[in-house]
Symmetry: C2
Subunit: 131 residues, 2 copies
DNA sequence: CACCTGTTATAACATTAGTATAACAGGTGG
DNA sequence: CCACCTGTTATACTAATGTTATAACAGGTG
């Protein structure tokens, strides 16, 4: 999977890396069980330090998106599938986003439509622009 | 409005302050035109430095949630109501959240329900737990 | 044994967050 | 005019964080 880092972003490199890998899993560009490039290889490809990649992998492991096999290295593995816990994890961030959206005059329907559209996109559904 | 800061959070103080004020506007605990405490007063109340509050106010001003009247000080004023731009601003963060949600096994319906619930909460709608 | 994996340790450097002190310009009310 | 309020700016300092650099180690592969 192609990783693109914006070095002028105010978002930390390791954070961008985490997000892109999670995006990759969600959009099936990374499939369950797929081996990730080694920390050294990924660092070389992107042009950053090994430790920055390692930090991203460590976080992804803690959050349950990645596991490590001593033989093969890091690979995609979404372990924790506890529904209630997952909702709780997402809810806090969602509250901040929805607050901002509401302040900017966006309606509930606007946000439901946005979620619907992005989710379909992740699912690979071809939309015929149904209004 | 009561502001609560978690000093052991990994989220910056000024960021927490911004979020809480936006949350306050979204939930109508802060109404349009309402004057915010002065940077010095707010800093004293919370127990932080004046500059940290000033940083939050400056960001809120840049993002269009607050304006400054030389006579009265800072007050709530959601200026920019451009719908397309608002959606674009929210979309990027939403993509990250939805990717994480999808990886954790949450369905589109789960997320639509979450958005629906939080939005109603912000609107002050009393839900009769309709399934 | 050479080579790969993640992991750990240590040091150095740059940027950011937060605090502290002080000053300034504009506006208000005595 | 004067004291007092507002946000704003400047400067300096400390602490934490992000990133890099170099090096070493244990486990597994061929």
């Amino acid at each position: 999977m192609l990783i693109e880092i914006d070095f002028s972003s105010d978002e930390a490199i390791y954070q961008q890396l985490c997000n892109q890998i999670i995006l990759g899993i969600a959009t099936s560009r990374l499939s369950d069980g797929e081996v990730l490039p080694s920390v050294r290889q990924m660092a070389d490809e992107i042009g950053i330090n090994m430790h920055t990649v390692n930090k991203a992998y460590t976080i992804l492991r803690q959050e349950g998106f990645v596991k490590v096999d001593r033989r093969r290295g890091a690979f995609v593995s979404v372990s924790d599938r506890n529904r209630e816990r997952a909702i709780r994890l997402v809810e806090k961030d969602m509250r901040v986003i929805l607050a901002e959206a509401r302040c900017r005059g966006l309606s509930k329907q606007d946000m439901l439509a946005l979620v619907d559209r992005i989710y379909d996109e992740y699912d690979g559904v071809i939309r015929t622009d149904d209004k």
